[in-house]
């Protein structure tokens, strides 16, 4: 099984790397060749991570009350006064943070997200629906992560996942794109996303999320609308881990050639908007 969760391998190791702001390099596990993948989280995000304790959770609650309750509700159930306008008749509805179901993860489908996943979502937002809160201080965003975790008790017992490293990206090429196209056909991505990737597949009108709200598949020719980001690393995470609570499954267990298949598919998807 090529379950890939491409986040941190070692906070301490990466913090020592000298990187330009806005990127993050991952070092593969010992004995393997180092590979790098751009990630939209700065090194300082990790170095400035505060302690997770009652005090930081209380602080996180204060920040949540000021910034998040309008959509996610006072108790985090996704029932704030604005939630109805955002997700009344179609997804996404603001996340019920007490449910334990999170879409944007680098962990396997069904698992809780890593702290860094929540941090990333808070920082970047969800394209079209949730503004990013990068203007909150790094420390405040981490406190917010801790508070969000406190809303679902299972986070207490969750052991941090050992981060897997993304395989080496396959450079875009005609050959890779052709392979990606075949994978797109093989896994019937077009049934939802359409044969041309425009989100108009035969099943598209019937897709619903776990809350029974219509959830149209993304138009893959419009990367600016990708909820979890349009960078190759974002696509890799989305394809491999899926979106829990939606019709988008995780493909990490299904690719015969593992990472390479994923990268071919990514190259094909990116070619649709070029």
């Amino acid at each position: 099984m090529h379950l890939t969760k491409y986040f941190l391998y070692s906070v301490s190791a990466t913090a020592m790397l000298s990187l330009p702001a806005g990127t993050f390099s991952l070092v593969q596990a010992a004995g393997q060749k180092a590979k790098t993948v751009p990630l939209p989280i700065t090194v300082s995000a990790y170095t400035k991570r505060p302690q997770e304790n009652n005090k930081s959770v209380v602080e996180g609650r204060r920040i949540y009350d000021n910034a998040c309750t309008y959509c996610h509700g006072m108790s985090g159930k996704g029932d704030g006064p604005v939630a109805f306008y955002l997700g009344r008749t179609s997804a996404p509805r603001p996340r019920d943070l007490t449910s334990g179901t999170f879409k944007f993860r680098s962990t396997a489908s069904g698992e809780l997200p890593m702290d860094e996943d929540i941090f990333r979502t808070i920082t970047r937002g969800v394209t079209g629906y949730m503004p990013g809160f990068s203007s909150l201080s790094t420390s405040d965003r981490w406190k917010l992560v801790y508070y969000v975790k406190s809303l679902f008790p299972d986070f207490k017992d969750a052991a941090p996942e050992t981060t897997r490293i993304i395989g080496k990206p396959v450079p875009p090429s005609a050959t890779s794109i052709r392979k990606g196209y075949r994978i797109y056909q093989q896994f019937k991505c077009g049934e939802c996303h359409g044969s041309g990737g425009r989100g108009n597949g035969d099943k598209a009108p019937d897709l619903k999320d776990d809350w029974n709200l219509p959830l149209p598949p993304r138009d893959l020719t419009r990367p600016d609308s990708f909820k979890s980001g349009s960078e190759p690393a974002d696509l890799y995470r989305t394809i491999m881990t899926g979106f829990d609570g939606s019709a988008m499954p995780a493909y990490a267990d299904y690719f015969e050639d593992g990472d390479d298949d994923a990268w071919h598919l990514i190259n094909y998807i990116r070619s649709l908007s070029e």
């Binding site: 000021n66 006064p81 306008y85 203007s135």
Partner: protein, 531 residues
């Protein structure tokens, strides 16, 4: 206040100039064409979104129930100086850093500052009769009209730096030679989060004082329908009253912004004529004082005790209504309490506004204007509430006004010395909007006003002013269709609930209807879009 009153007069005249007449019956065909065109427009995504949605890459509904109404998040975004609630992101969000972090400057793309709003109407008014004022202002009794969107509103809003924000609304009338200049109706600088997050913010410039009130003057689903009137004479010539929340209206008859100075001139042909130098009628249905669309002033507001309680203190600069106008500083305070629940938000607010020497009681005695000895003080106060629950958005306000009793001592009874005045007035406006689904919204509004001001100028005989102060009440129905979140196609209908009332007979040889009762109904089909 004079500022807004004069502007109202200008707008009314402009509106009169640029209404285009349609042949009788053509409005129905146009209406069908109008909706047919838009019904075939298949807009799946909001391709064009206003500046803040562009900047933060979020849908319109993040801040609006439906444009232009703000939801609680949009309200807090506005309070926070166009920064995300809980943050002070004005210094860097989506901006380009030019230079280094320490000494550089962060600048936003212009597209993140600029937004445009356009509205266009096809209006069909139904009058009980064609009054003299309508003839004077060339308004037919049963004509349908296209209100040309010749006036374009441009909005420039955003953050110059962290906790320093601005809002400019520029109006340009491309078709009126007299007004073809760029003018800022509202221009505001804001200094936010002084002393700590939400503790206090300062707004400075020309703005709507009621923007934080539970029923703000702006951002109505039923946009105000402008008057067709001229207010630079007394009494004002009103061919068609405006349609707006009557709670906001001045509701006082017989008041001007100051004594008029009539100047007699002579034409080249030797004919004498008079012009009015100063002193405008305060239109009885003009949004006023706290609810004026724009007032020059300073406002301080904040939430020092958490998210529930909002305070606002302000002063507005105007001129007194005296013969020698002086600067007057109106003062106001507004308090609001917010309560959030499951899919709901409830708020209640109250305000108190005081304006010293704000109006000059005036009587027109058969063409001769008579003024009170002193300008009168004006107090306005009211409460408003708003309740949003899922698809419902219900809001209402009750506003009361009080002026000092005018002093006409020294005038003879025939000259109005024994005129009778009502020093109090009140108005109520209640609106309920319901979202059927993402595409359709229904709304209804009830307005009522209990008029005050001049009841009768000369109790000894019929005169120009008798029975001018009429009550009014309207009900309005609205259906709005959104092919995209930023484009609203609407049909609205206003029905006058008041029975027929006549103008005073002394000068009303045509037995004209009172303007408040003459407009029996108005049907309007239009589009309201922002991008």
């Amino acid at each position: 206040m004079e500022h807004s009153n004069k502007k109202q007069g200008r707008e009314s005249i402009n509106n009169n100039i640029w209404r285009k007449r349609l042949p009788h019956g053509a409005y129905a065909l146009l209406a069908i064409m109008f909706f047919s065109i838009f019904s075939v427009v298949n807009v799946k995504d909001a391709e064009a979104v206003p500046a803040f949605a562009r900047k933060y890459v979020v849908v319109c509904n993040a801040c609006h129930t439906r444009q232009p109404r703000l939801n609680p998040y949009g309200q807090r975004f506005m309070e926070n100086g166009y920064q995300l609630p809980g943050t002070a992101d004005g210094g860097r969000r989506e901006k380009h850093l030019l230079g280094d972090q320490a000494n550089g400057v962060s600048l936003d793309d212009v597209s993140n500052y600029l937004a445009v709003r356009l509205r266009a109407d096809i209006q069909k008014a139904n009058y009980r009769s064609q009054t003299g004022a309508m003839r004077e202002l060339n308004v037919d009794r049963d004509a349908a009209e296209i209100v040309v969107p010749g006036t374009i509103n441009l909005f420039f809003a955003g953050t110059a730096a962290r906790d320093i924000s601005f809002f400019f609304e520029a109006e340009y009338d491309s078709q009126d030679p007299a007004e073809s200049t760029l003018a800022f109706e509202r221009s505001v600088l804001m200094f936010d989060n002084l002393g700590g997050y939400q503790l206090s913010s300062v707004k400075l410039g020309v703005f709507d004082p009621s923007s934080f009130f539970s029923f703000p003057t702006h951002r109505q689903q039923l946009n105000p329908v402008k008057a067709i009137a001229e207010s630079n004479e007394f009494p004002p010539t009103i061919a068609r009253i405006p349609l707006l929340p009557l709670a906001f209206a001045s509701r006082m008859f017989g008041l001007t912004t100051g004594p008029s100075k009539l100047r007699t001139s002579t034409t080249a042909g030797g004919d004498a004529f008079t012009t009015t130098e100063d002193g405008f009628a305060i239109m009885p249905l003009e949004p006023y004082l706290f609810n004026a669309p724009y007032q020059k002033g300073i406002s301080v507001y904040g939430r020092p005790f958490g998210n529930s309680f909002l305070y606002q203190l302000g002063i507005a600069q105007n001129k007194t209504a005296e013969a020698a106008p002086k600067t007057r500083w109106d003062q106001y305070v507004m308090l609001r309490y917010d309560m959030q629940g499951e899919y709901s938000n409830f708020q209640v607010s109250g305000f108190y506004y005081t304006a010293g020497k704000a109006a000059m009681p005036t009587i027109n005695m058969n063409g001769t204007l008579r003024y009170a000895k002193n300008a009168v003080d004006w107090i306005r106060y009211g409460v408003g509430t708003r309740w949003q629950y899922k698809a419902w958005d219900v809001y209402g306000t009750v506003i009361r006004d009080k002026i000092d009793a005018p002093d006409f001592s020294g005038l003879s009874a025939m000259m109005g010395g024994n005129s009778s005045w009502e020093t109090k007035s009140s108005g109520i406006s209640i609106e309920a909007d319901y979202l059927l689904n993402d595409k359709w919204m229904l709304g209804a509004r009830y307005d009522s006003m209990n008029a005050g001001g001049l009841l009768r100028g000369n109790t000894a005989a019929p005169d120009w002013n008798r029975d001018m102060a009429q009550d009014a009440s309207f009900i309005a129905l609205l259906a709005k269709y959104y092919p995209a979140p930023n484009i609203g196609l609407y049909a609205r209908y206003h029905h006058n609930l008041e029975s027929s009332a006549k103008l005073p007979t002394a000068v009303n040889t045509d037995n004209d209807e009172h303007p408040l009762s003459n407009l029996a109904s108005l049907l309007s089909l239009g589009v309201d879009m922002a991008f």
